[in-house]
């Protein structure tokens, strides 16, 4: 191919209707699984997926620029941080897509609002009290969702059959006590539902997974083993916090490189635990926004706009970078400070929900992402 796939895809963005890959397979496959990983705190996309082909990158980033020898090659324009070697293997196996210069519709710089918009599926913070994945789940009869951790994140809050799970300990209470407790909760639907779901999930996993839920790899492993069960959840959400690197974020060693390693380990553990189900799975890694293009005064980066993310899994038509790269030149930056977003997360969310999980376009445009019919689903992300 003379013209790179990335450039071809970018040019196709203005030609709706052109289809590179088929999109019908998911409809017939109710076994497809989807995992959404939220990186809370705003991952610095220019470190994770450095645009090595942009001549402005090294000088703009200065001490925070990642060198060519510190990255794994993606294509002529982009590298992948060396700590993401597991993701790079998936890229080589054509099971990973990297997105660059992507964002939600949110254009301010508050973490909490940014995460709210990423999860509520609208265009404004607090626009809705439930999440887009929860609404999608509501449109998938018989499907259930799972959050690993002490609470259910907004994206999966609302209606729908959702449970959350933490690892077991040796001292689970007696069955009789639980029965009586359920009696006590008859007039308290919130506690009743929570307890019932916890019991169901425990029965499903059968006490297999133990460990510290704050360890991302343990959480990912639990998701994998629950999802690979025949009646397992079709949608799961996990969160990895700690990406808010305002100060001394590091290039090869330090806080940010450590977080990238943690993400890489979690993905590897997830793939392993999913086993054969990996082949029919898609995993999306997103963060609320990017960080400033230029380092701040303390060798870190502040809240920005355009960022990076990943889509991985056996069901993904991977092995490429999807980006309509806006450039890092002074006039190309958003508000003269951030990477300009040229692609909406909503396009990717829609593509995964329709092409992978079989959600109808009508539901996507009206309920799941309200009044979004002008935002097209990205083509060809799913096999």
């Amino acid at each position: 191919m003379i013209i790179s796939r990335r450039k071809l895809l970018a040019s196709m963005a203005v030609l709706p209707g052109v289809m590179l890959y088929g999109t019908a397979s998911a409809m017939e496959n109710p076994e497809n699984r989807f995992v959404f990983i939220i990186l809370r705190g705003a991952m610095d996309g220019l470190t994770a997926v450095p645009p090595l082909g942009d001549s402005a990158y090294q000088s703009l980033r200065g001490a925070l620029a990642v060198g060519k020898d510190q990255t794994l090659r993606l294509d002529a324009d982009f590298g992948l941080h060396q700590n993401l070697s597991g993701l790079h293997q998936l890229y080589t196996d054509e099971q990973m897509i990297a997105f660059q210069a992507i964002s939600s519709p949110y254009r301010e710089r508050s973490h909490f609002d940014g995460q709210d918009v990423l999860e509520n599926g609208g265009t404004k913070p607090l626009q809705m009290n439930d999440g887009w994945l929860s609404r999608a789940l509501g449109s998938m009869p018989g499907a259930n969702g799972l959050a690993v951790g002490q609470s259910v994140p907004l994206v999966l809050r609302g209606g729908g059959d959702v449970t959350s799970w933490v690892p077991s300990t040796p001292s689970d209470p007696e069955d009789e006590t639980i029965e009586r407790l359920l009696q006590l909760y008859q007039e308290d639907p919130v506690l009743q539902e929570a307890l019932e779901k916890s019991i169901e999930t425990d029965q499903m996993i059968g006490g297999a997974a133990r460990g510290n839920v704050n360890n991302s790899a343990v959480a990912a492993k639990a998701i994998g083993s629950l999802m690979s069960a025949p009646e397992g959840p079709r949608i799961a959400v996990m969160e990895i916090g700690g990406w808010d690197t305002h100060n001394r974020q590091g290039v090869i060693k330090g806080r940010l490189p450590n977080k990238l390693s943690e993400l890489d380990r979690a993905i590897t553990a997830l793939k392993k635990a999913l086993g054969e189900v990996w082949q029919t799975s898609a995993v999306l890694v997103a963060t609320e926004f990017g960080r400033t293009a230029k380092p701040n005064g303390s060798l870190g980066t502040d809240h920005g706009t355009g960022g990076a993310g990943f889509l991985l899994g056996g069901a993904v038509a991977g092995g490429r970078v999807v980006s309509n790269w806006p450039g890092l030149g002074a006039s190309q930056l958003y508000q003269a400070r951030d990477l300009k977003p040229t692609m909406s997360w909503h396009s990717v969310f829609k593509a995964v929900l329709s092409d992978h999980l079989g959600v109808s376009k009508a539901a996507l445009d009206a309920d799941i992402f309200p009044q979004s019919s002008t935002v097209m689903a990205s083509k060809g992300l799913i096999m």
């Binding site: 909490f112 002490q150 609470s151 259910v152 009789e176 009586r180 407790l181 006590l184 307890l195 508000q335």
Partner: protein, 442 residues
Amino acid sequence: MDKDLEAAITGNRFGLGAVPGSKNGATTKAALLAEITIPWSPDGVMPPTASLVKQGRAGMAAAKGKTGDEKQVMRKAQRQARREVLVRELDYRTKLALAPAGSFRERLVWFWSNHFTVSAQGKPLVEMIVGAFEREAIRANLHGSFSDLLLAVTRHPAMQLYLDNAVSVGPNSTIGKRRQKGLNENLAREILELHTLGVGSGYTQEDVIALASMLTGWGISREGAFQFRKAAHEPGAQTLLGATYAASDERQAEAALQDIAKRPETAKFIATKLALAMHSDDPPKSLIDRLETTFITSGGSLPALHMALIEAPEMWHPNPVKFKTPQEFIISMMRMTGTELPPRRGMLKVLKSLNHMPFYAPSPAGWSSVGKDWASPSAIKQRLIISTNFAKGGARQIDPAALAELAIGPFLSADTRFILNGASSAEQGLVLLLMCPEFQRR
């Protein structure tokens, strides 16, 4: 109002949990009103910020220049030292929360400390002084105005470090020009978004930059105290929310903070948050309005605001609605049963497993005040596991049904009473009491 109901609401909804058999715990509205007028005086038990900073910095300096194994040993020693400080802080905080008297005041400390979250997550030096921050900036300032509290919090070294203001430099200041350093907007943004006006209240990115510029030069001295460094301060007047601030030193940001503290958006934001934390996930508008009006008419007086909460008729309804946070659950369990979890590591482990480790909030927004956020299936399971463990160790001398009457009697439904009375063992009865809706809520 019925005396027993008044005592149950006083002890459980306002206080951190009734303490049956104690004569010192507040049981009346009058006692609550008296409680909040007593200012907190430092007891000297815990070290002040300056000495902790000194200790932390000495450790870092000792490790500097070391390599290999020696460096690893030094680092480990520092980690242990920080952990030791944290455990002592946690023990101290637990002790204050368990004292029968004064637990509404303690609840208010928790509320304001969470409102102005400093989290130990990620920054070693902050880990050393986050406890001191709560004592020096929060506890010591609950008897003045919101404005004084805001200033004390913003000046405190823990906040300066946590939200990166200590490293923020005016680009046109002496240091900025010489070292090519620049602004860090983190603290300014969170002040507007989380501490005062509230997100979406109408301020702009320009306002954030203006406040960040005014806050340049605010930082921390070598001795671990607040310090204003003129050489890092961005010169020139700044405009924030339409007002111009011309002072060329720390009085510039001070004046801006004092103005922000008095704005109606701040009154509304604080009133809503307080009602949410104290009343229910869906507090009545009348309560929010009442608190908002008090905030405005009293010029942001905290005692007036706290008094208005105690006097509000909305707070005295007979049904426990608000789901306890994990910390509230654990402390009220210990208060009711008179049995402490093993101090130090025991308490730490339990609160960690509930995802509610004091001083370790996940973000500057602090812990959620929405009860429902704490009631996921996994969280309920964890509470049940903890209750089961606790009952195994602590049920020996307890009659759960009788204890329930003393602690939360007026809240109990007929069904709950019936089930508690029919428990097959004291151990099971205690698990059921700890997990029943009337104890899980307040």
